[in-house]
C-alpha cells in the first residue's frame, strides 16, 4: 500500500497542473472565439478571390508574364522549391505542430533543393535544429494575423520568385474543417491556369479586357492575390492552433480530474488501512493487557 504522504503530494501536484491546463483552456477558448470571428470575416474574401482569379485566368487571352512562368526548361536538380510553413508559436496544443511538421518533412523529402520560410517559433526551432535551409531573416509570429505581416511575407517570396531564386512556392498550413484540423498544401506561385481551372466550369462571358494593360494588371493583381491568400492562410492557421490547444487542454483537464479521482480513492483506502491497522494494534494491546 502506497504511502499516504506520497499520494497526498501527488494529488497536490496534479491539481496544480490541472489549474494551469484549465486556465490555458479558458484562454484559448476565448482566443478561439475571436479568431473564429476573424476567420468568418475573411472567408468570403478568401473564397471569392480564388474563384475570381480562376475566372480572370479563364477570361483573359494567353499571355506571357513572369508570374505564370513555369520554367519547364529548368532541370529538376536545379529547381528550388520554396515552402511557407505555418506552425504555432508555442507547444501544448496536441498534435497541431507535429502534424504540420510531418507533412512539411514528407514534402521536403521529395525535392533536392528546398527553401523554408517558417512562420511560428516551434517550427522554426525544429527545422533549424535539423539543419534545414531555413530563411533566418524570415521572422514572423503566428499570433494575431495582421495584413501588414501578410504583405511582408508576400513581398519576400514574390521577390525571390521573380529573381529566379525560387521556382515554385507552396504554402503548408492547417485548415479548420468542422472543428477538425487538417494539414494542407496549396500552391502559390507560379500561377497556373490549368491547375486553377476546373473542368465543369462553363465560360459564360466573353474575354475580359485588362485595363490599362495586361501586364500592369497582372503586376498588381498577382501580389495582391498572394497577399490575400497568405492572410487567409494565417488567419485559418491561427484559428486551428487555438482550436487544437483548446481540445488538448480540455482533454488534459479531464484526465487530470480522472487522475485525482483515482488518487483520492487510493488515498482514502490507504487512510482506511492505516486506521484499521491502528485499531487492530490497540485492540490487540488492550487484550494482552487484560489477560495479565
Amino acid at each position: 500500500m502506497a504511502n499516504m504522504r506520497e499520494i497526498k503530494e501527488r494529488i497536490a501536484s496534479v491539481s496544480d497542473i490541472m489549474k494551469i491546463t484549465n486556465a490555458m483552456y479558458l484562454i484559448s477558448s476565448s482566443k478561439l472565439k475571436k479568431a473564429r470571428d476573424n476567420l468568418d470575416k475573411t472567408v468570403p474574401y478568401f473564397e471569392n478571390i480564388q474563384s475570381t482569379i480562376r475566372h480572370i485566368l479563364d477570361h483573359s487571352e494567353d499571355f506571357e508574364h513572369p508570374f505564370f512562368d513555369v520554367r519547364r526548361s529548368k532541370p529538376e536538380d536545379e529547381r528550388t522549391y520554396g515552402y511557407i510553413v505555418v506552425t504555432g508559436d508555442k507547444g501544448l496544443c496536441g498534435a497541431y505542430n507535429h502534424n504540420i511538421i510531418k507533412l512539411a518533412e514528407s514534402e521536403l523529402a521529395k525535392h533536392k533543393n528546398t527553401a523554408l520560410f517558417v512562420v511560428g517559433a516551434v517550427g522554426r526551432a525544429y527545422f533549424e535544429r535539423r539543419g534545414m535551409n531555413v530563411d533566418t531573416e524570415f521572422l514572423y509570429t503566428a499570433q494575431d494575423p495582421a495584413l501588414y505581416r501578410a504583405r511582408r511575407i508576400q513581398e519576400t517570396v514574390t521577390e525571390l520568385f521573380l529573381r529566379g531564386r525560387l521556382d515554385e512556392v507552396h504554402i503548408i498550413f492547417t485548415k479548420l474543417e468542422r472543428s477538425a484540423e487538417i494539414p494542407t498544401i496549396i500552391k502559390l506561385f507560379p500561377l497556373e491556369p490549368d491547375l486553377l481551372g476546373d473542368e465543369a466550369y462553363e465560360k459564360k462571358y466573353a474575354d475580359a479586357e485588362l485595363e490599362p494593360s495586361p501586364k500592369a494588371v497582372m503586376d498588381h493583381l498577382a501580389p495582391n492575390y498572394a497577399k490575400g491568400l497568405i492572410f487567409g492562410v494565417l488567419t485559418e492557421a491561427f484559428c486551428s492552433e487555438q482550436n487544437a490547444r483548446m481540445t488538448a487542454m480540455d482533454s488534459a483537464t479531464n484526465s487530470a480530474k480522472d487522475m485525482i479521482a483515482q488518487l483520492t480513492l487510493d488515498y482514502n483506502r490507504a487512510r482506511q488501512a492505516a486506521i484499521t491497522q491502528e485499531i487492530t494494534e490497540i485492540v490487540g494491546g488492550a487484550r494482552s493487557l487484560k489477560r495479565k
Binding site: 470575416k41 495584413l147 462571358y205 466573353a206 475580359a208 479586357e209 485588362l210 485595363e211 498588381h220 495582391n224
Partner: protein, 134 residues
C-alpha cells in the same frame, strides 16, 4: 429605374456590402472610372482612394486601399485590402499616419521602404479626404 448590377465589395477582414447598384465610380491606376450595368468584361486595378456607388437612388461613398476589381456585364466584384465608410474613419489616426509617412519620406530610404511609405501616405491621404467630406 435604371438597370442595375450586383455589386460585391470585399475587404480582407470583412465583406463590406453586397447590393444592387446602378452606377459605380472607382479610382483605377490611371484615373477614375465609372461602371454602369452591362459593362464589357474588364479586370482593373484599384488604387487607394474613394469609391462611390449609386443604389436605390442614393449615392454612397467608401474609402478603399489597393486592390482589384472584376467587372462583368451583370456583376462587379471589388477586392481591396481595407474598406471603410467615411463614418468609420478615425481622422486623428489618419492624420498621424500621414505625418509619420511624410517624416519618413524625408529621410534617406531604400527603394522598398520608399514604396512602403508612399503606399502608407496614399492610404492616409485617401482616408483624410474621404472623412473630411462627410
Amino acid at each position: 429605374m435604371a438597370k442595375t448590377f450586383r455589386l460585391d465589395i470585399l475587404a480582407v477582414d470583412k465583406s463590406f456590402c453586397g447590393v444592387e447598384c446602378e452606377h459605380l465610380i472607382f479610382p483605377s491606376l490611371d484615373g477614375s472610372r465609372g461602371v454602369l450595368a452591362g459593362h464589357e468584361p474588364m479586370i482593373c486595378c484599384l488604387s487607394a482612394g474613394e469609391i462611390q456607388f449609386l443604389c436605390n437612388g442614393e449615392w454612397k461613398r467608401a474609402v478603399v486601399s489597393d486592390g482589384f476589381i472584376e467587372i462583368m456585364p451583370d456583376f462587379v466584384k471589388l477586392f481591396a485590402d481595407s474598406i471603410e465608410s467615411p463614418e468609420e474613419i478615425d481622422l486623428i489616426r489618419a492624420e498621424a499616419a500621414k505625418q509619420r509617412a511624410e517624416e519618413r519620406l524625408r529621410q534617406q530610404l531604400s527603394t522598398k521602404q520608399y514604396i512602403h511609405t508612399q503606399a502608407a501616405l496614399k492610404r492616409a491621404m485617401a482616408r483624410i479626404k474621404g472623412a473630411s467630406r462627410k
